[in-house]
Symmetry: C2
Subunit: 138 residues, 2 copies
């Protein structure tokens, strides 16, 4: 548990009880998590606190935000040492049309694309949708 406190502190986030709980929750899930997910998991907690915790985690590069096309913002823990604002750390995400879960495929980086002159690329988002390995039954 000291692990988590250390991780938070190193990233400039004070390790409050709630934050540690949320971190743990994110760590034990292999799918990306929405604010509503967390709200459901911690029914007694304040929505705003959860909201701001996720925002803080994102600012401090503890989690990265995922836009999977559902219109709902999701979050997942960053790999240690990952800086998701750098092109080399941008990976693709997979959204399952069956179970509605979104997962990070951190080993699959977003391929570099050459654009016509005049275009300057600063960021990229690649989401594949279909059936995940759990749901395809193999």
């Amino acid at each position: 548990m000291k692990e988590i406190e250390k991780r938070l502190t190193e990233n400039g986030v004070r390790p409050t009880a709630m934050r540690i709980l949320i971190y743990k929750y994110l760590a034990e899930k292999d799918a990306a998590i929405s604010l509503t997910d967390i709200e459901t998991a911690f029914a007694k907690a304040e929505r705003t606190t959860l909201y701001r915790t996720l925002r803080t985690f994102e600012e401090k590069k503890i989690v990265h935000q995922i836009d999977d096309g559902t219109g709902i913002q999701k979050y997942a823990l960053c790999e240690p040492g990952c800086d998701c604002s750098l092109e080399q750390d941008l990976h693709l995400h997979f959204h399952c049309n069956n179970c509605d879960e979104t997962v990070c495929l951190t080993e699959h980086k977003i391929p570099h694309i050459n654009l016509p002159d005049g275009y300057v690329t600063e960021d990229a988002n690649l989401v594949l949708k279909g059936i995940c390995e759990k749901c395809s039954g193999q």
Copy 2:
């Protein structure tokens, strides 16, 4: 103008006055359009009508929806003969962080990605963000 009526009819959409206007509006813009954009352009028209027009256009493959990561749904005319539900017609989109416009790069297809066993890909979305050619000043 008969052109537009023909296009709509061919796709199974009855060419009402409003629909023709909206089609023209989409045709003269080179950027993707949001419902709010259209609402502003046709201030006297009913929001719901515009909304349903876009939905109908999408169902009938006259436009495709674009998720550019802003959280706002955008639409752009499909190329003639394009079926955006097919992998081969999936192209990438570019969102400018400066002018906030999103454009189709129809000549840039989304590269095929090989996923681990068990994953079945049905759809893909690739959005690049940065500075567009207009804004980069060359």
